[in-house]
């Protein structure tokens, strides 16, 4: 958005205004974060699978005991944080590719942010609650 908001009189050249910004007007930061979070989840995949295997077939008391241990909670929190960020960026790319009506696009991107943050916060809250043993 910022490129169109720039006043007509400016010391910056047209090339300088758009350099590194690209179609999303926000540069390559999302592209880079998408890769970081993807690599993070790939590295965390084996520990996460081990945790899920440990939980299989256990009742709530057993599951709560495992989920409240510090390494398990930290691994899951890292995985959830990376997932929520990764899926927020990924869905935004899909929206920007297929939704061409500007208002609908705005609403979709906003809902995508709400959903991703809600998923992250609900999961984080659940893990912290289990960890604190309340």
């Amino acid at each position: 958005m910022s490129a169109t908001d720039t006043p007509k009189r400016s010391m910056r050249t047209p090339l300088g205004r758009v350099r590194n910004l690209g179609a999303a007007h926000s540069g390559t930061s999302d592209f880079w974060r998408q890769r970081i979070t993807g690599v993070a989840m790939t590295l965390l995949m084996i520990p996460v699978l081990v945790i899920i295997m440990m939980l299989l077939g256990r009742n709530q008391v057993g599951a709560a005991q495992i989920l409240s241990s510090i390494p398990v909670a930290v691994i899951l929190l890292l995985f959830i944080f990376a997932s929520a960020w990764h899926m927020k960026i990924g869905m935004q790319v899909v929206i920007e590719d297929y939704v061409h009506n500007e208002k609908l696009k705005l609403v979709s991107v906003m809902l995508n942010n709400f959903f991703s943050v809600a998923v992250a916060l609900a999961s984080t809250y659940a893990i912290l609650k289990l960890s604190s043993g309340v």
Binding site: M53, G57, N59, Q60, V94, S123, A126, L130
Partner: protein, 120 residues
């Protein structure tokens, strides 16, 4: 798009998106599971009853495949981002690797899960 001859890499590019969207929606199940674990035995028993049902198992199996495929397919994209694997035979090998690897890992995970008693 209609003028292009469909290739495996094109089809798998769509599958990468489709599995990404499925994983996005599927996080609701993960949230349900974690919140239920934090809520108490009754809520957790509901999740276990659902996950243990035929439909539940099919969904979780599909979710496992979507996750494994999306991860391997993502690694493939990462290799391309780093500037490698663009030759025709390398592209094909990476794509087949993601396809077969995703299925193989999914089956392997489920065999391990059943072996340690998760199928109860």
């Amino acid at each position: 798009m209609q003028v292009y001859r469909w290739t495996l890499t094109m089809a798998l590019s769509i599958v990468h998106r489709a599995t990404g969207i499925a994983l996005y929606v599927g996080t609701l199940l993960l949230v349900w599971w974690l919140v239920a674990a934090a809520s108490g035995p009754a809520a957790y028993a509901h999740v276990q009853a659902f996950a243990g049902s035929i439909i539940g198992r099919l969904i979780v199996f599909g979710y496992t495949w979507a996750l494994m495929h999306h991860m391997l397919s993502g690694i493939r994209h990462f290799v391309w981002d780093l500037g490698y694997g663009f030759k025709a035979n390398e592209r094909e090998a990476l794509t087949w690797g993601a396809l077969i690897g995703g299925i193989a890992l999914t089956v392997l995970i489920w065999i391990i899960a059943y072996a340690i008693g998760g199928g109860r």
